[in-house]
């Protein structure tokens, strides 16, 4: 613990040079070169090819299109819509998937029974289901959210099931020997024991869900980032397409790096049963 906290306190004293040093040491210069080289190549290509507006607008044009959309207030609106959909869909997926996985995992026979069918439904990508759902409910908000919910639900339930199964029987038996009730076993052994798997499932489910949001918006025509790049392509605004792609990438990296991955790592560190 003391070893881990030492660099933190020293970085508090002088965070800038240390961080800069680490950044440069871990390939920061190379990263900058790769990025600048990539940008230069992109800019050069857009100068050389015919009709750059259509095929590959220059980086400057892409940035300019973001100013344009910001000024009109469209961009924040699209981003917010997409994130909101992801939150509702995956939130519902979590609420349903975790209890479902735990219930199925409680009994060995039941879990053996449901393993293949959960795997099967996990294999049918939510996006493949979209045409069916469109027939049911038309191109509505409900359709997109259902697809996200479906996409999240199965990876989460599946991982929770595996997590519950992987808890050593000894712990359950120990609790039982000490006279614990079923509820206590669930609360004190199964839930904490399955938490690392739950965290993995959550990250995986939200990852699939994020892709489902983009695809769902494109196909069901709901306003958001996916819809933005899809409609921009149809009216030949390639700069907007690239802007949307970059935003999709940045948003997901931010979400994954600063929320989901730390959550998973901390959960595994706190509750993980694997001794390293």
């Amino acid at each position: 613990m003391t070893i881990a906290s030492a660099p933190a306190s020293s970085s508090r004293r002088g965070p800038r040079p240390l961080r800069l040093h680490r950044f440069l040491h871990r390939g920061g210069m190379e990263l900058a070169c790769v990025l600048l080289g990539g940008l230069a190549l992109w800019a050069l290509l857009s100068q050389v090819i015919p009709r750059p507006d259509r095929y590959l607008p220059s980086p400057g044009t892409v940035v300019y299109s973001s100013f344009d959309m910001l000024w009109k207030g469209l961009l924040p609106d699209f981003i917010w819509n997409t994130i909101w959909r992801l939150l509702i869909g995956s939130g519902l997926g979590l609420l349903l998937g975790i209890p479902f996985g735990i219930l199925l995992g409680l009994n060995r026979t039941v879990s053996e029974m449901f393993y293949p069918i959960l795997n099967f439904f996990q294999s049918i990508a939510g996006i493949a289901l979209l045409p069916i759902v469109m027939i049911w409910w038309g191109s509505s908000e409900q359709t997109v959210i259902f697809v996200i919910l479906y996409t999240c639900l199965f990876p989460i339930a599946f991982n929770v099931l595996i997590g519950v199964r992987s808890i050593p029987r000894i712990y359950v038996n120990a609790m039982r020997t000490l006279g614990a009730s079923r509820l206590r076993i669930v609360r004190d052994v199964i839930l904490p024991g399955a938490l690392p798997s739950i965290a993995t499932g959550v990250r995986l489910g939200i990852g699939f869900g994020w892709r489902a949001v983009i695809a769902g918006e494109m196909l069901a025509g709901q306003r958001g980032l996916g819809w933005m790049i899809f409609t921009a392509q149809q009216v030949d605004l390639t700069a907007q397409v690239i802007l949307g792609m970059a935003l999709i990438g940045i948003l997901w990296v931010t979400l994954d790096r600063y929320l989901l991955r730390p959550l998973e790592a901390d959960t595994i560190q706190r509750w993980g049963l694997v001794q390293r």
Binding site: G27, E112, F114, P116, I132, I135, F208, F230, M245, I250
Partner: protein, 272 residues
């Protein structure tokens, strides 16, 4: 992991009693689901437009294949063999994507991972590329390649390549340098290090990358076929949904699940 769990998760061939039991148990929910589905048709709870009868889903194979001149025509992808054409075109794309994407990803991943500094530099690039890979490329791919075979192949390749590349890179970087040095000390050259240290050392990570690549790639392919394709299972379900041929949609969706399960089953890496 206890004995029961390990047989339950492993897919070893050989039908012992435990395996038979787990197959029988696993079949129960499927049979129940089929039963409820059939019951729905008889009782008419939900209209056939929403949930088509089971028989018509099976029948859709024959309707789609109606004008097909036999198995040879199906294999040579005659235009009239709708069902097998869509199936083969999806599978062919997956095959081609894997054939090109995996060697490319492993090769470049090892190259980038060989230099520690370049490896560190490429990591954020890989993270970012993975974050946009798949469906988000579809509009741009349509602009570049038009609607069709190339767009869908590009999406699939893009998804597979970046995941394999990224995981290979991480795997190579994780190989302890001692091994590399010892091979060098024993007189090995660069090629020896690559073939005897980097690739075996990174193999678990590479397999994870391949598996994830196929998982994400297959999903992206279906979506790409819907939006930017003119053949394949994704295209089939999308067009059939537009024409309200629900039984064809169900057929396509079930097939997508079955194919994916079969692929994944052959690929799941079981450390033993």
């Amino acid at each position: 992991m206890s004995a029961a769990t390990s047989t339950f998760m492993s897919g070893r061939l050989g039908l012992d009693r435990k395996r038979l039991r787990s197959i029988a148990l696993g079949a129960i929910p499927f049979l129940l689901l089929l039963g409820v589905w059939q019951l729905n048709t008889y009782m008419g709870w939900l209209k056939p437009v929403y949930i088509p009868p089971l028989g018509s889903v099976v029948g859709a194979v024959f309707t789609l294949q109606e004008d097909c001149p036999g198995p040879w025509g199906a294999l040579t992808m005659r235009e009239s063999c709708l069902f097998t054409n869509h199936l083969l075109s999806s599978l062919g794309r997956v095959g081609l994507g894997l054939l090109v994407g995996i060697p490319l990803g492993i090769g470049l991943g090892v190259l980038a991972g060989m230099s520690r500094r370049l490896g560190h530099a490429m990591e954020p690039v890989g993270v970012f590329a993975n974050a946009i890979s798949g469906i988000a490329w579809v509009p741009l791919a349509i602009v570049w390649f038009g609607v069709g075979w190339l767009t869908t192949l590009f999406i699939l390749l893009n998804t597979i390549f970046w995941l394999v590349f990224f995981n290979t890179l991480l795997g190579v970087r994780g190989v302890p340098r001692t091994y590399e040095h010892s091979v060098l000390t024993l007189g090995g050259n660069r090629w020896h290090i690559i073939s005897q240290v980097y690739i075996p050392g990174a193999l678990p990570s590479i397999v994870t990358g391949v598996r994830m690549g196929i998982g994400f790639g297959w999903r992206a392919l279906i979506a790409a076929e819907m939006i930017g394709g003119n053949s394949g299972l994704g295209f089939m379900i999308f067009v059939s949904a537009g024409e309200y041929k629900v039984e064809e949609v169900f057929l396509g969706v079930l097939l997508i699940g079955i194919i994916w399960m079969a692929t994944d089953r052959g690929l799941v890496w079981r450390p033993s």
